[in-house]
């Protein structure tokens, strides 16, 4: 589904990614871990098309298409979704209007009919219940005045409604208490399916207690320095990132 080859990128002339290689197939869950500043969020942003990064080398293919050639919204149309680390507050933009317009934009781009109001309401209520997001927040402005946990639940709600093929979760666990973490993870797990892939970017192992990855990659200084199964996350938890960084430097 997703094939990243030697991806090198910089911000304001400063190299952040120094040759990322990653293959993701449908049905897989990949965890990307690493210390602060290792390039985890940059990778997530570049995949979703955020401005401000210069890709100096490498390729990213998504279902055979050159992903980096696509506009941000075109990536969304073809099934890429980024759950943000810091979801943006949109005062005055109604949460439900936003969700419905997003769904319809994606449907339209795929040549599908728009969702009718009744089906939309039914679905959004059902999904909000699953992520334990207060229905009142659906009627409010997007993320405006939401708590950290509510913002993340809202991200997962959007993900559930938009049903992406490739979902990237950027530090979704940050700022969450244990109950919220579990709810968010439950929501993510509901989306696991043989034709969908997930990339979970996280600093801590604890999210992976709830979202069990098939693969764990450790990113340091813009490179994947170690890949392994879920046991790698546990080993990291025990020994810290320094253990690997020293190994990589040696």
């Amino acid at each position: 589904m997703l094939s990243i080859k030697n991806l090198c990128a910089s911000v304001d002339g400063k190299a952040i990614l120094n040759g990322i290689n990653l293959e993701v197939y449908a049905g897989e869950v990949h965890a990307i871990m690493g210390p602060n500043g290792s390039g985890k969020s940059t990778l997530a942003h570049i995949l979703s098309g955020r401005d401000g990064y210069t890709v100096s080398d490498g390729e990213v293919h998504y279902f055979g298409q050159n992903l980096l050639d696509l506009e941000t919204e075109e990536r969304a149309h073809s099934g890429v979704f980024l759950a943000m680390q810091y979801p943006v507050e949109l005062p005055g933009v109604n949460n439900m209007t936003f969700l419905r317009e997003s769904m319809n934009a994606i449907r339209k781009a795929r040549g599908e009919a728009e969702i009718d109001a009744v089906s939309f309401m039914k679905q959004v209520r059902h999904r909000a219940k699953q992520v334990k997001l207060d229905e009142k927040l659906l009627k409010r402005s997007v993320n405006a005045g939401f708590s950290g946990g509510e913002k993340k639940r809202n991200e997962i709600l959007q993900m559930m409604m938009l049903e992406p093929q490739l979902a990237i979760l950027d530090e979704t666990d940050s700022g969450l208490d244990i109950d919220a973490l579990r709810t968010v993870a439950d929501g993510v797990n509901l989306l696991r399916s043989p034709d969908r892939a997930l990339i979970v970017v996280t600093h801590y192992q604890r999210l992976l207690d709830y979202i069990e990855p098939d693969f764990v990659h450790v990113l340091a200084s813009g490179r994947i320095i170690r890949s392994g199964g879920k046991e790698l996350a546990l080993e990291l938890e025990e020994k810290g990132y320094e253990w690997l960084q020293e190994g990589a430097a040696a």
Binding site: S48, R50, G92, V93, F98, E101
Partner: protein, 439 residues
């Protein structure tokens, strides 16, 4: 006096002659005095502080005519499409002329409502209920012209202690027939002590190419403890000219809550003059203006705190796109004796284009020493992070811009009490901004 002004003076004189003194002596004198005032003042020019950023040249080049019109016609079905929620009373004006057959039932205990034309024809000064008492015969050329050649409008009075729950609507529809002409309209609204009402004014053009000049004055007196909700929506064609002076006299304990949306017009200028006549009075005003390609939108405030313990709050937002231009000029004057006043003035502008321009000037002149006052202005663009967020959810750039701009406007749109108007204005804002893209 320039050539253009003399043409208008001539037209005004002819207009008054054509009325052949059928309106009563007092009004005829007012008209003549206003003509004289106009002759002295001429048209406003950039040398005057409140007209500094506003050129009237574009308007004068249109060569609009003042004509003595008494008839206009529009089918009932056409009006139907503009009717929203149930009203206590509705006056429909086509090309500025009151249409009794298109208007609703106007009878209600404690509410007196009728057209200015009928009041003028009555010939008695009392029927006019103090027209000119707040505005005088005109403090600038356009206002003087309005008084000199008054055509029609609404005269509304709510009796002491009466609460009119449903809106009183003044619906103005301009047809192609108005093109090339000036429409001189004046509303006189009196709420006696303890009365309350909800006034809606709507200005629409049937044809998007309609080119006319709507020159209005609105005089509102709120007696002690009276309360008025005032919703104004100006959605005229992009070739129309709309000029309106709203004069407010707010007595003690009275409350004015206004919201004004200025969406249309090649040039649209709205000025609110508010004066407090007693303590513990309150004036709240929300405003929204759009200015796109070829549009100039002017918004002026002149709030005079001349007595103690009054509050005023104004929040005006503008969306500018294309080569749109806007002027915001808000003056709050707190006089020496007006202790314990509260005055807050905000203006925020969203610039969607590099070619757009806004001149904003909020001013607080405070002579009292025990007051709470603040003012603020912002001129900004859409947030890149917000745009990225929306696009990452599948909305294209235009959709994302539109949704964020509506979000910016929603604070003001939401202060319209009428749900019908809120929904309608959202649609209208989107429509006007999309039209821009196609140009």
């Amino acid at each position: 006096m320039n050539a253009c002004a003399s043409v208008f003076q001539q037209a005004a004189t002819e207009y008054i002659d054509s009325l052949s003194n059928c309106e009563g002596e007092w009004l005829t004198e007012q008209r003549q005095a206003a003509t004289q005032r106009f002759t002295e003042l001429g048209f406003p020019h950039a040398g005057l502080e409140t007209w500094r950023y506003t050129s009237v040249e574009g308007l004068l080049q249109q060569d609009f005519k003042i004509t003595h019109r008494t008839q206009a016609f529009l089918q009932h079905e056409v009006i139907q499409q503009f009717l929203g929620e149930p009203v206590a009373a509705r006056l429909v004006f086509v090309d500025g002329i009151y249409q009794p057959n298109l208007s609703g039932d106007t009878g209600q205990a404690g509410l007196s409502i009728g057209s200015l034309r009928a009041a003028m024809a009555a010939g008695e000064r009392s029927a006019l209920r103090g027209v000119g008492s707040l505005s005088g015969i005109g403090d600038h050329g356009f206002a003087a012209l309005n008084m000199a050649t008054l055509q029609d409008g609404a005269v509304i009075q709510v009796s002491t202690g009466v609460a009119i729950q449903q809106p009183i609507e003044l619906l103005y529809v301009a047809t192609k027939g108005l093109s090339g002409q000036v429409q001189h309209t004046r509303h006189r609204v009196v709420l006696e002590a303890g009365a309350s009402a909800n006034l809606v004014e709507r200005y629409l053009s049937l044809d998007s190419e309609s080119n006319y000049f709507n020159n209005l004055v609105c005089e509102i007196s709120l007696g002690e403890g009276a309360s008025l909700v005032h919703q104004r929506a100006q959605e005229e064609s992009l070739k129309a000219y709309h000029l309106c002076d709203v004069h407010l006299d707010i007595q003690g304990d009275a409350h004015y809550q206004g919201v004004n949306a200025a969406l249309g017009g090649a040039w649209s200028r709205t000025t609110f003059h508010a004066r407090f006549g007693g303590e513990d009075a309150n004036c709240e005003l929300d405003g929204l203006y759009l200015a796109g390609e070829g549009q100039l939108t002017d918004f002026h405030l002149n709030v005079d705190h001349s007595v103690a313990h009054c509050e005023s709050r104004e929040n005006v937002k503008g969306i500018l796109y294309g080569a749109g231009k806007a002027v915001f000029d808000g003056l709050i004057h707190v006089r020496e004796q007006a202790q314990k006043s509260q005055a807050h003035l905000y203006n925020a502008n969203l610039m969607l284009s590099r070619r757009a321009e806004v001149d904003t000037k909020p001013q607080l002149v405070i002579l009292a020493d025990d007051v709470k006052c603040s003012h603020g202005t912002t001129v900004g663009q859409l947030d890149d992070q917000a745009l990225f967020y929306l696009r990452s959810r599948g909305l294209d750039k235009d959709q994302a811009k539109r949704l964020l701009s509506l979000g910016f406007a929603s604070e003001i749109v939401d202060s319209f009490q009428s749900e019908y108007l809120r929904d309608h204005l959202r649609e209208e804002i989107v429509k006007r901004m999309s039209y821009e893209r196609q140009v």
